[in-house]
């Protein structure tokens, strides 16, 4: 069956390419392609290649050494911890918020949508500062935290909080339009057929939004691991303790340890490439479903 789907996809692409009336003369097409390729190589391919060349400049041994350095390992570990905590929380929040916005009508709905967008609008540095103001030494809860011997700022909780703040729109933003387009008829059908809330969520809603959800998770993960600004403000840059990977790269770079800085940076670059690959795979999967839908509609 998958073979027929692929061939359908091909004929679909051909159909788009064949329409002569809307195509430009050859020289226009080629110069547009050339301009975009030139631009991409200048701003994307060359820097990306530079990251990997610089990382391997002192040989593969030095590259590995930079990665297994205790400070580097601790930075990697902290980055993974921050992502591993913020991801599930964002997953639950994203699905809940998208569900509420797409399937119910309530007062203040537009305010909620605006609030979800807030981290996109606010500079990450300000996001970090907010937490310093709340939990820092001179902040609202500063004294209470010191009295009870809890550390938020310049410690892991602060980093996790900042990461959650900058990543929480991704999943909700991805799901809201999808769920709005799908409507709530299928859920109502499940309800009439006797399914309870959990059964509806697991058997109807989640399977319907799985590609959008996965897409949102991947974007959230990429952002959580790559976040610099907000985390930088709350982290305190304590080596081996509160440094995430992006912060570790900065420290190494400022110490003129280029090869090590680029080695750690190459991990982040690799993460970015992986994200892109997964993203296009998911988009391909999702569009495949849509194309089949459209063909049947015809």
């Amino acid at each position: 069956m998958s073979a027929t789907i692929v061939s359908q996809l091909h004929s679909y692409n051909k159909k788009v390419a064949r329409s002569r009336a809307t195509s430009e003369p050859a020289w226009v097409r080629w110069s547009l392609i050339a301009v975009s390729l030139l631009f991409l190589s200048l701003f994307l391919f060359i820097p990306l290649a530079a990251v990997f060349t610089e990382a391997l400049r002192k040989g593969f041994g030095a590259y590995i050494a930079a990665l297994v350095d205790p400070d580097a390992l601790s930075a990697i570990k902290l980055t993974v911890i921050a992502a591993a905590i913020s991801l599930p929380l964002n997953l639950v929040f994203g699905v809940a918020a998208a569900w509420a916005i797409a399937k119910f009508d309530f007062r203040g709905k537009s305010i909620l949508i605006t609030l979800i967008d807030l981290p996109f609008a606010v500079s990450p540095v300000i996001a970090g500062l907010i937490y310093v103001l709340i939990f820092g030494m001179q902040g609202w809860f500063g004294e209470w935290l010191i009295d009870h011997d809890h550390k938020v700022i310049f410690a892991i909780p602060g980093i996790v909080l900042a990461t959650i703040f900058v990543t929480f729109p991704f999943i909700a933003r991805e799901l809201i339009p999808l769920m709005q387009a799908q409507g709530k008829e299928e859920e109502e059908a499940g309800l009439v057929l006797g399914a309870n809330g959990w059964q509806i969520l697991w058997r109807i809603t989640l399977p319907n939004i799985k590609w959008g959800l996965l897409y949102g998770v991947i974007l959230t993960n990429a952002r959580a691991m790559g976040e610099f600004g907000a985390v930088s403000v709350v982290s305190g840059h304590i080596r081996g303790l509160t440094n995430t990977m992006p912060l570790h790269v900065e420290i190494l770079y400022n110490e003129y340890n280029y090869a090590a800085a680029f080695a750690v940076a190459s991990l982040l670059a690799f993460l970015a490439l992986l994200t892109l690959a997964l993203k296009s795979f998911i988009e391909w999967q999702a569009s495949r479903d849509v194309i089949i839908d459209e063909q049947i509609e015809e």
Binding site: E185, V192, A195
Partner: protein, 355 residues
Amino acid sequence: MSIEIRNITKDFGSFQALKNISLDVPSGELVALLGPSGCGKTTLLRIIAGLETPDSGNILFHGSNATERDVREREVGFVFQHYALFRHMSVFENVAFGLRVRPKATRPSDAEISKRVHKLLELVQLDWLADRYPPQLSGGQRQRIALARALAVEPKVLLLDEPFGALDAKVRKDLRRWLRRLHDELHITSVFVTHDQEEALEVADRIVVMNHGQVEQIGSPQEVYDAPASPFVYQFLGNVNLFHSRVNEGRAQIGGIELQLDAHQETKDSPAFAYVRPHDIEVLKEADGEHAFEATVNYIHAIGPLVRLELQRADNPELIEAELTRERFRELSLTEGQSVFIRPRNVRVFLNQVA
């Protein structure tokens, strides 16, 4: 199972969707809720299903109050306008859904589920599609799968929202006859919503005509078509000619002619509307005393079993539609632009309350 609807009211903000609706659906009947869009018919259907809650009033299933009963406990089958099939499940799984989500104690075994699903798929004549997915089906097939899915939970009441609305004309005709036959086989109390009068007249045992959140008339297809209770029902069901008229002591004046009425004996010179179906307009070549008025033939549409004429009254700019049999049309040998005389039969007069 019979359904009784008692004084149901429902507002959406400032919009009054249902205004004090009461009606009965006797056990085993197929009832159509008919009305223009926005008349509240779908809201009423959703209230019966339990998908909306009424602001006031009660729903009784088989005499017991079901107003507060949860959707899941109402034992209704609901077919959605756009079918709402679960797009990521095969046809088989769609139909099996209602059985699979039952609590363990009442859930049939896999073998039993499989048997029942195939039996239902045979009933809707689509057993060969069991492994397909909803996007791979045509509209008519989706409709029948949605019906099989609704029937799988053995509902006591079947509710259908615009069941044929999204289908093309040919499929729609076939499917509505099929639904009628299915209902005659199963005898399950059914309510369907439609805006298509032809559909309601052909399929339903009983029609509830609704407008602006109110019931205009309840009756058999013949009753609502032959004896509409209000001007709205007259205009909504089938084509009709409207004449401005004056009524005085049981006599109605339309143009140059005067008609004797059975009703309105006490009425003193008040404005009224007179309704006549196009097939009740008699076309004559010669004037026939006082009971006909003059008109010109504007257009002739001679397609189908009936010939439709558009006529222009001589005394005012109103247009009149008439339908003749082909035989009668040949007898008259009419041409466009010709002058004729017309005589309305079976005139219904409603006083103009507003003026």
